[in-house]
C-alpha cells in the first residue's frame, strides 16, 4: 500500500483555476482523496471478502454496526473475553502491535500460530485474515 509523508494526494490542478483563490477553488473542485485506507482481505468458510476500511478501524466495531466484514466476522463480547473474534493473520502481522494481556490470556499457544483477537486490533495497514468456520457464538 502506498504511504508517503503526506496523508493525502490531490488531483492535478485544472488549467482554469488561477489567481489568489486558486488553492481554495481547487480544494472545492477536487476534494482530497484518501490514499492510505487499509485493505482488508478476509477469508471465511472458503470464501474471500475484501474491502477498504478507514485508518485505525477495528473490525469488531465495523461488524457491530453491520458494515464490512459483517456478517462474516463472528464476535460476541467485544471485550477480549470470549475469543469468538479470533482470526489467523495470513499477511500484515508485522504492522500489528504486540499482543496485549487479553490476547495472551485468551489465545495462549494459538498466538504462535498467528492468531489475534480482532476486537483488540486497530488497523493501520493492509491485512489478510482468516477466521475458522463453525465459531459457536453468533454475532450480537
Amino acid at each position: 500500500m502506498w504511504r508517503a509523508n503526506c496523508r493525502f494526494a490531490t488531483s492535478a490542478s485544472p488549467p482554469d483555476l488561477q489567481g489568489p483563490n486558486r488553492a481554495a477553488l481547487r480544494r472545492r473542485a477536487f476534494p482530497p482523496k484518501v490514499l492510505d485506507m487499509p485493505m482488508v482481505t478476509f477469508h471465511k468458510n472458503g470464501q474471500t471478502h475484501r474491502d477498504e476500511v478507514q485508518d485505525r478501524t477495528n473490525l469488531v466495531v465495523r461488524a457491530g454496526i453491520r458494515k464490512f466484514p459483517f456478517p462474516h466476522l463472528h464476535y460476541n463480547c467485544g471485550m477480549g473475553k470470549c475469543a469468538s473474534c479470533a482470526c489467523r493473520v495470513i499477511a500484515g502481522a508485522e504492522h500489528l502491535p504486540a499482543p496485549n494481556w487479553k490476547e495472551k490470556r485468551q489465545l495462549g499457544d494459538r498466538l504462535a500460530q498467528g492468531y489475534r483477537l480482532a476486537c483488540q486490533l486497530w488497523l493501520t495497514h493492509d491485512i489478510e485474515l482468516s477466521q475458522d468456520s463453525d465459531t459457536p457464538a453468533a454475532n450480537a
Binding site: 477495528n58 469488531v60 466495531v61 457491530g64 454496526i65 453491520r66 460476541n76 463480547c77 467485544g78 471485550m79 477480549g80 473475553k81 470470549c82 494481556w101 487479553k102 476486537c119 483488540q120 450480537a140
Partner: protein
C-alpha cells in the same frame, strides 16, 4: 430557516457539538490524566460512576420501547447495546466494582445510592428523563452519541495512567479497557441511528442541541466530582488551571 444537512455534514456537526464541552476538559479528568488523584479519589469516582452508567441498559430499554417498530435496525442496535452492557461478556458494572475494590472501597458502598453526589443523582435523572420523554431519535443522540461515544477518547487517555502512574494491574482496570472497544461499537451504532433517522432539519437541530446538553451534563458531573471530593486537597492552580 436551517436546511437539512447531508449525513457527512450532520456527523461533523454532532462531533462539534460534543467536542465543545468534552468532559476531557474538567479538572477531575485533568487531575486523573496527570496522575494527581489518590486511590481514595478514584474510589469516590467509582461510587458515583456506578449510578450513572449502571442503569444504562434501563435507559436504552426505555428508548427501545418507544422506537417505532419499523425502525428494525435501530431497535436491533439498541438491543445489542443492552446485551453487551449486561450479559455479552462480563457485566460492565461488575468490572467497575472490581476497580472500586482495588481503590479501597467495597461493592456494598458502590451499590449504595446514598453514596452518590446530588450532581450524579441529577445526571442519572436527566438520563432517565431523556430516555422516557424525548423523541427516541433525539434520546439516542443525547445518551448514546452525546454521552457514550465520548468514553473511548476519555479512557484512551486515562487507562495508561492507571497502570503506569497509579500502579493498577491489567485485571483491575479491565473496566476501562473494555469500554474503549465496547463504547466505540455502541457510540457508532448511535451515530448510525441518528444519521439514518434524523431526516428533517428540525429533528437534526434537536439532536445537535441534546448532544450539546449531554456533553454539558457529563462535564457538570465530572466537575462536581472535583468540587465534592478533590478540590480541598488539590486546588486548581496545582493542575495548571486558573482558580
Amino acid at each position: 430557516m436551517t436546511e437539512l444537512m447531508n449525513q457527512n455534514d450532520f456527523r461533523s456537526a454532532l462531533e462539534k457539538a460534543i467536542q465543545g464541552k468534552s468532559a476531557n476538559q474538567s479538572p477531575f479528568s485533568i487531575a486523573w490524566a496527570s496522575g494527581k488523584l489518590t486511590r481514595a479519589h478514584l474510589a469516590r469516582w467509582a461510587e458515583n460512576h456506578y449510578h450513572y452508567v449502571g442503569p444504562f441498559a434501563d435507559y436504552l430499554a426505555a428508548i427501545y420501547m418507544r422506537m417505532p417498530d419499523h425502525y428494525t435496525e435501530a431497535k436491533d442496535f439498541l438491543l445489542a447495546n443492552m446485551y453487551e452492557e449486561e450479559i455479552g461478556g462480563d457485566r460492565h458494572t461488575d468490572l467497575l466494582i472490581r476497580f472500586a475494590e482495588a481503590c479501597g472501597t467495597t461493592a456494598e458502598r458502590v451499590r449504595d445510592p446514598d453514596n452518590m453526589s446530588p450532581t450524579t443523582r441529577g445526571l442519572q435523572s436527566w438520563c432517565y428523563a431523556v430516555a422516557m420523554r424525548e423523541d427516541p431519535i433525539v434520546a439516542v443522540a443525547g445518551l448514546v452519541v452525546g454521552l457514550e461515544s465520548q468514553v473511548p477518547s476519555i479512557y484512551r487517555k486515562q487507562t495508561p495512567t492507571l497502570r503506569e502512574t497509579y500502579g493498577f494491574t491489567d485485571e483491575e482496570v479491565e473496566f476501562f479497557d473494555l469500554h474503549i472497544v465496547s463504547d466505540e461499537i455502541h457510540g457508532e451504532r448511535g451515530y448510525q441511528i441518528v444519521l439514518e433517522h434524523a431526516t428533517t432539519p428540525e429533528l437534526q437541530q434537536r439532536c445537535l442541541k441534546i448532544c450539546e446538553i449531554g456533553a454539558q451534563m457529563r462535564l457538570l458531573y465530572t466537575t462536581a466530582l472535583y468540587n465534592d471530593y478533590v478540590a480541598g486537597e488539590l486546588p486548581l492552580r496545582d493542575l495548571g488551571l486558573a482558580a
